[in-house]
Amino acid sequence: MRVASRTMQNWLLPVAALAAWETLGAAGALPRYLSTPTAILAALWEIARTGELFTALAASLYRVAAGFVLGTAGGMLAGLAAGMVPAVRHFFDPLVSFLYAIPKVAFLPVLLLLLGLGHASKIALIGFSCFFPVFIASRHAVLSVNKLFVWAAQNMGAPPRAIFFRVIIPGAAPQLFAGFRIALAHAFVVLFAAELIGSKAGLGTIISYAEEWVRFDLMFAGILCFATLGFLGDRLLLAIRWRLLKGQMLGTEELLRQ
């Protein structure tokens, strides 16, 4: 019974908001730019049927995936190296502490001119944005691996390779995933801004075209898809993390229902 009432309370606000939106919108009490949920679903169905949605989705997905993988791989390599080798750490630390505070979207105009309006400029920008959170997480993760474990492994004659893959990486993994998660969130923000500012394909472009054509239902359909994509990306990352490291919840606290 308690569980049932809790579930009801959980659903109360979202359902009430949707119902109010629909009824007020249908009655014409809301401004036109808010559209209505049914109209948004209809618009979603419309672009799904013409296939426009899937072209846009594929473009956005490709950009975010490629950028995320490149940036994360680079950030992890540099971060792990910085965590283990002081010289590398001293090289990257000042650069990262300065560049981290800058919104990477600021480099978008430069990248657009350098790489064009297509995929490459977005992938480069997303990769650049993902690099920093992953670098910081990896660097701290390696430095916070318990030295005793490393010493113990060395004592038992483990070669450096084994120490790296069997001691340092597993010890650093939870923090690495926390970094990946922040990077993924950055990736979607940057993707959206890049697609809205200069692009010819993708979900952000659907949204900005819909605005130009004053098709607010279509705009919300694009927003809905984009939000869902971001949400599913995060959940996919968490599922991978869950398989790889069972039980270590660092960085996913909001999923723990106390």
């Binding site: 959980n10 001293h90 650069l95 502490s97 505070a101 800058i102 919104p103 600021a106 430069v110 995060d234």
Partner: protein, 259 residues
């Protein structure tokens, strides 16, 4: 302090900071030798001149003050609303059940997608930027503070009650100080987000602010000004973070030294 110690300190701080001057030197040398000829990457000297000029004539200061004031207003509103709200969520089961899905399922949703809607509701000027910054900052603040308030040890509250403290006294003297480190870590996540979000939304559409400044000078192919603005954003971000750390150091005085 002996001369040797000073020398070793200088050389160690050089070992820590050499990479920025080194890269600037390589950059300057590449441009000066003609190896790198691009309007997209002017020499550091040109960028520096642009930075000095544009700061001197007040343009950068004007745009930066707009950006920073927008970011800080949104951040401050999110702090003022978020902290009491997270206390309510931590202390009351009803509030928690009502808002948990909105904050925890909504947390990974890229909220930037909603910005076009904000421009319709609030117009494209300052109000929509502040409202959107408020939303973006609210999430990390509420989620982090909520966990801070939830993890306050119950026995601290019990012993305060035992000593006859009222509800407000417990909130003010026990719960708030105990949650203070989490509050500050939430604020420290939210503060750079506020700057990032304001710059992005200014790039999407505005007529003032550093984001606008970057867009307008890049369409005029004046990339020295663009890099100058990027440097200013970086300096603002670092300064705000340092300011927050200074406040944290005073507020969480029992944890000084750990960051």
């Amino acid at each position: 302090m002996s001369a040797g110690m000073i020398a070793s300190r200088i050389s160690s701080s050089f070992a820590r900071w050499y990479s920025i001057p080194l890269l600037l030197l390589i950059w300057q040398a590449a441009v000066a030798s003609g190896l790198l000829q691009s309007r997209l990457l002017p020499a550091p000297g040109t960028v520096w001149t642009a930075l000095i000029d544009e700061t001197g004539n007040g343009a950068l200061i004007h745009h930066a003050s707009v950006t920073v004031s927008r970011a800080l207003t949104g951040f401050a509103l999110a702090t003022l609303a978020g902290i009491p709200f997270s206390v309510a969520m931590a202390r009351s089961a009803l509030v928690r059940n009502l808002f948990e899905p909105i904050f925890f399922i909504g947390y990974p949703i890229p909220k930037i997608a909603l910005f076009p809607v904000f421009t319709y509701i609030f117009g494209i000027g300052t109000p929509s930027k502040i409202a959107f910054t408020f939303l973006e900052c609210l999430y990390p603040i509420v989620v982090t503070c909520y966990f801070g308030f939830r993890s306050v040890q119950t026995r601290l509250i019990w012993s305060a009650q035992n000593c006859g403290a009222g509800r407000m006294t417990i909130l003010r003297r026990v719960i708030l100080p105990a949650a203070m480190p989490s509050i500050f870590s939430g604020l420290r996540i939210a503060l750079p987000i506020s700057i990032i979000v304001v710059v992005i939304t200014e790039m999407i559409g505005d007529s003032v602010g550093l984001g606008y400044y970057i867009t307008i000078w890049s369409t005029r192919f004046h990339f020295a000004n663009v890099y100058a603005a990027i440097i200013v954003i970086g300096i603002c971000g670092m300064a705000l973070d340092q300011a927050l750390l200074a406040v944290r150091c005073r507020a969480v005085y029992w944890q000084r030294g750990e960051s």
